[in-house]
Each structure stands twice: as C-alpha cells, then as structure tokens.
Amino acid sequence: MNQSQLNKFIAYLQKNDWSVFGPVFTTAKIEELSPFLSAHQPSAIKKSGQILIKEIKKAGDLNLDGQLPFYSFKRFFVPEYETLFEYKKNRLAAKKYAPKIALVGMNILDLKAVNLYDQVFEKDPYYQARRRNMLIVGYSLTPEINDNIFEYKFEEDILEHLPFDIFLADYNAPSPRQNVGAPPPLNLRGGRGELYKVFTGSIKGQRILEHFGYKDYEHIQFSGPVREGRADERMERLRDRLKNHHDPNIWEKLGKICIECGKCTLICPTCFCFRIDDSPSSVKDSGVRTRCWDSCYYQEFSEMTGGHKFLDSTARRLHFWYFHKFARIPDEFNFMGCVGCHRCAAVCPVGIDIAEVLEEISNS
C-alpha cells in the first residue's frame, strides 16, 4: 500500500462512520498539556512538541515515524471513567456506549498492551462492546530502542502474537536505531514503490480491506499472546526474584523518594485497576454507577471499613505495583504486565526509572 492509497483508506473509513484516531505530531507546548511536566521535561520536547493520539481529520496529519505517542492508546480500551449503570431509586439500568473507532498506526508496544486488556476484560460486556466496534490498524516500527526497555524488535513472527485487524509493515524505513551487526529486522520485498506491506489479523480486517478495494494483503492467524516453546527468560527471572527472594530494601529505598503521585499508573498502558462508585445526580434519587481508573499508589487503595490498610506504606505500595506487573500477571497470563515503553520513567517527577528498578530486582 502506498501513501496515497493509505490516505484514501483513511478517507474511506471516515466515510463509513469510523472515527479515526492515530498519532499526530502536535506543536501544542508541553505547558499546555501539563504545567507540571513542563518544569521537569528536557527543553527539547518543549520546543518541538509531542506525538499525541488525536482524531485524524486529514490523512496527512497521521504521523507514522515510529515515535512513541506521549500517552498510550489505553483510554480507547479502558476509559478513565465510564458509566456502568444509570439508576433511578433502586433500579439500575446498564449503560453501554461503544462508538465505531478506528485506531490507525498503533505501535507494537501499545498493541502488546491490548493482549493484556483482552485477557483481563474477557468477560466484561462493556469492554467487549467497545472492542467489537473497534478497528485496530497496527504499524511496524517499534519505538526507538532506548525508549523500549525490553528491546523488542520487529521480527517476522511477532505479528502472529499481536491483536490487530490490519497491520502496516513499513520496510522502507528500518528501525531508526538498529543494533549494528544485528540482522535487518524484516525483509519484505514488496517492490513496486510500495511503502507498506499489508497484513490482516482478523476477518473484520479482511472484510474492510476488500470492501475498500485493496486485495494485496497477507493474512496472519493470531496464535495467542505468548510465543509457544520459547520461555521468556527475563520474565521468569523477575518473577522468581519477586516471589522467592523478596528484598524489602529495594522498596524501602524507593519508598523514601516516591511521592505517590500516581502518574506512572495513569500513563502506563498496562495499568488497568479501577474503582466502582455511585455518583448521585442533581435529580433526586438518581445518578450513575461508574467505573474509574484507580491507582495502587493512592493511600485509600487498600483501605477497608474501619480504616485498616494492608498496603500501609509507600514501600508496600511500590512493591504491589511491581509485583502485579512482573509476578501476578505472569502467573495469570504467562506474559509480563509491562510492554517496556518507559513512559512511567518519563513522567516520574522524582526520577524513578523502571529499567533500573528491574535491574535491581533481577540482581536481588
């Protein structure tokens, strides 16, 4: 698929009632996004702007250069705030809102997070309704290696473990920081001046491409989030350390600097925990039961009636966060609860770097 076909495809989606979202380079200054961040980010970002996920009005706005968007695609899958029920007196009525959304240009790290949402919210009717009305168009470039702590590369067999409907493999622009001496990431000779080799990962993807009039795609059968027969050694080691070699010093030390702002949990593509609350409206005896993102760094996260907290110190809450991602999720789903995007370190106001913490756990 070449650039003009891609532009036509985006226009086609819009014509067919899809709201198209994708990475957009925006010169909105960081100050406009977060005055707090502007005080902590290197000035280069302030000047040059950010990649954000925005609604694509013109196809030309779509930015596919392999940079990681500042925020992940999480909120399209697990919204920060959603209404589960509307209530009047003691009657609750379920409320589902699932518009047609096409996410174009989802990078591999954010796609990996979708594997987790799909597992966690497997039986959640609100999630499933959203997911049914969503079109995922993945894109091959992995964010630059220094922003990707597990050094994921775009290898040929990665696609069969990622959940997408359509995938655009960019082979004219190899990953910006390839390791010298490593084999080239993927040799997909399409020729004919094509920019993207097109794959489909679902019947939905096939149907939409066919209807649009693009037939030169290859289908990849999704074979689950985990590569069979190849144990993830890094995951095994971290899990073993966390479960069998608990080192309280790591957490005590971090607990002294962490200010429990919860930014890492908000920006993390794999943080999905939530609380359920009732909010009365201004009309008597009516309101909504909502589900809203929570953060295990917040003091009341584990607070029970009567005030007792099981996670009663910053150190314990930090441990809870790491244990979830690197022990509990591996136990539940057999993959790590971290895609390696490094966003948490980028927003941490006190400079806690997940890559360094993992190194420490690994050596504990």
């Binding site: 379920a94 309704a129 609380r275 359920i276 009732d278 039961r289 584990s302 009636t305 099981f310």
Partner: protein
C-alpha cells in the same frame, strides 16, 4: 453478554438487632426466577449495594435451605449507615455469590476422621454461621466442632441466643471477652487466651476468621499444637470493588481474595508478605 455487575433487587423481610451497632437483616429477592434458588457455599460472599451509597462485600450467614439471605452488618460506613436506617419492605441490590475459596468441607471426612476447630473474633463468627446452622448436613451428625470465640463484651456476642441450640449438635463453644465486666464470670482476654484455658479438640482442622491481628497469635498457638499449614484455613478480608478478580484492590500475592478466596489455607499464603 452476561453482565457480572448486574444486581438483583432484594427486599428486607426481617431485621433483628444483635448489638448496639450490629443488625441481622433478612432479604428475599423481588423477582423470583423460576427454578433458580440462591445457593452459596459457606465462606463465600455477596456484593450488596444501595444506589447512591455504593457497594460492599458481605458474607451471607443464613441457614442454606431457608430460601432467604441473612447478612449481619455493623453500622460503620456510608452504605451500612444507610442500611441501618432502612425498614422492612425496603429494597437493596445484591449480586453474587463470589469466591472460589469457601470453607473446604469436601476436602476432609468430618463424619468419621476429622474434627473441626474454629477460632473467631468479633464479626468473624458471621461467615461461619451457615456452617454451624447446617452442621449435621455439612459435617455429619457425629462430627465434633469446637469454637473459640472472643468479643469485646458479653453484649457484643453475636447469635448468643443460638448457642444452646448449637451445643445440642455437638458444637462446643468457649467464650472470652476483652475486658472484665459486671455479670461475666467466664474467661477474660483475647482469643489466644482460650488456648491456655481449654484443650483444643484432637485431630482437627482449624477454620479462622477474625480481625487480622488475631491471626498471628492464633497461628502461633496452632503451630505449637502441631497443626499442619495445610490444615489451617483463614478467611481474609480486603477492600473489594469488582468481586470477580479484575479490579486489583484485593490482591494478595498472586491471588485475589474475591476470586481465589476469601478462604485460603495457611500453606497457600504464609510466604506472601503482608497477607495477614
């Protein structure tokens, strides 16, 4: 698609005051689904909500065959304060039951091989009442049960009018109160003190339910008596929102209290820092 957060309206049909701030509520579902009976395993819990006041987990404690749900609830938060103001005929919303970890009644042969020892404090007696009311059915007529129960004061003891009936079913109950008080001539002190005054029933499995502080001391006593970790069961209490192992609030190590518990064997959780 089935909505796990959907609730069934239930009507309050009976209220009895247990203590100054604890009431026993009886509920019946408003729409009875034909052929469907609300069944739970002793140790499981339900989520009760009142729109506008939120949702919270409670352990049902009624006799299983009764056709209604009983919950024994202390007036301590926003939801329970509202509930305590409610009257017979008022409606609440219930979903559940939840918890794959109930009291392990099928794991042991209580009829002929094992006895049951129970150590509970305060409201911890509640999740065991169903088991005690249906003791002959769950454990067999001849099985022996011994309970160590501690409460703040004699008037804080739950279900106290039922003890004499329990005793007729081979259930021995030893009581203690936190502080000396007028009219109380039995044991004074916290639950562990009962171990010094009474011999624990031989060849038994232990079920524990109470405030977290109680567990450590009772576990010490049980370990000294030679109980195996696999034969000690604890019901854990945690903040819960979803009840189905998703929201993360109740996680303990790699377990979820709501989904994998709330009852765990000590062998399962003893190596998890902060479990009790």
């Amino acid at each position: 698609m089935h909505n796990p957060y959907e609730t069934q309206p239930a009507k309050i049909t009976f209220i009895s005051r247990q203590t100054a701030n604890i009431k026993l509520f009886r509920f019946e579902f408003v729409q009875k689904v034909p052929g469907h009976k609300f069944i739970f395993k002793p140790g499981q819990f339900i989520e009760l909500s009142i729109p506008g006041f939120g949702e919270a987990p409670f352990a049902p404690c009624n006799d299983l065959g009764a056709g209604y749900i009983e919950l024994c609830i202390r007036n301590v938060g926003k939801l329970t304060a509202k509930l305590h103001k409610m009257k017979i005929g008022d409606i609440v919303n219930i979903r559940g039951p939840y918890g794959n970890g109930a009291w392990p009644l099928d794991k042991y042969n209580f009829k002929t091989q094992k006895n049951l020892f129970i150590a509970v404090g305060g409201l911890g007696l509640v999740p065991l009442r169903t088991l005690l009311l249906g003791k002959d059915k769950f454990l067999g007529k001849d099985s022996k049960v011994q309970i160590f129960y501690g409460a703040k004061a004699p008037e804080e003891m739950l279900f106290r009018h039922e003890y004499s009936r329990w005793k007729k079913h081979n259930i021995q109950i030893e009581l203690t109160v936190d502080k000396e008080c007028v009219g109380w001539n039995k044991c004074v002190g916290l639950v562990p003190i009962l171990f010094d005054k009474h011999e624990v029933i031989q060849n038994s499995v232990a079920f524990l339910c109470g405030p977290p502080i109680m567990y450590k001391y009772v576990l010490d006593k049980l370990k000294k008596l030679g109980f195996a970790d696999e034969d000690i069961y604890l019901s854990l209490e945690r903040r819960m929102h979803c009840g189905i192992g998703v929201c993360q609030h109740c996680a303990v190590g790699s377990y979820y209290t709501c989904k994998d518990g709330p009852v765990f064997s000590w062998a399962q959780i003893k190596d998890i820092p902060g479990a009790i």
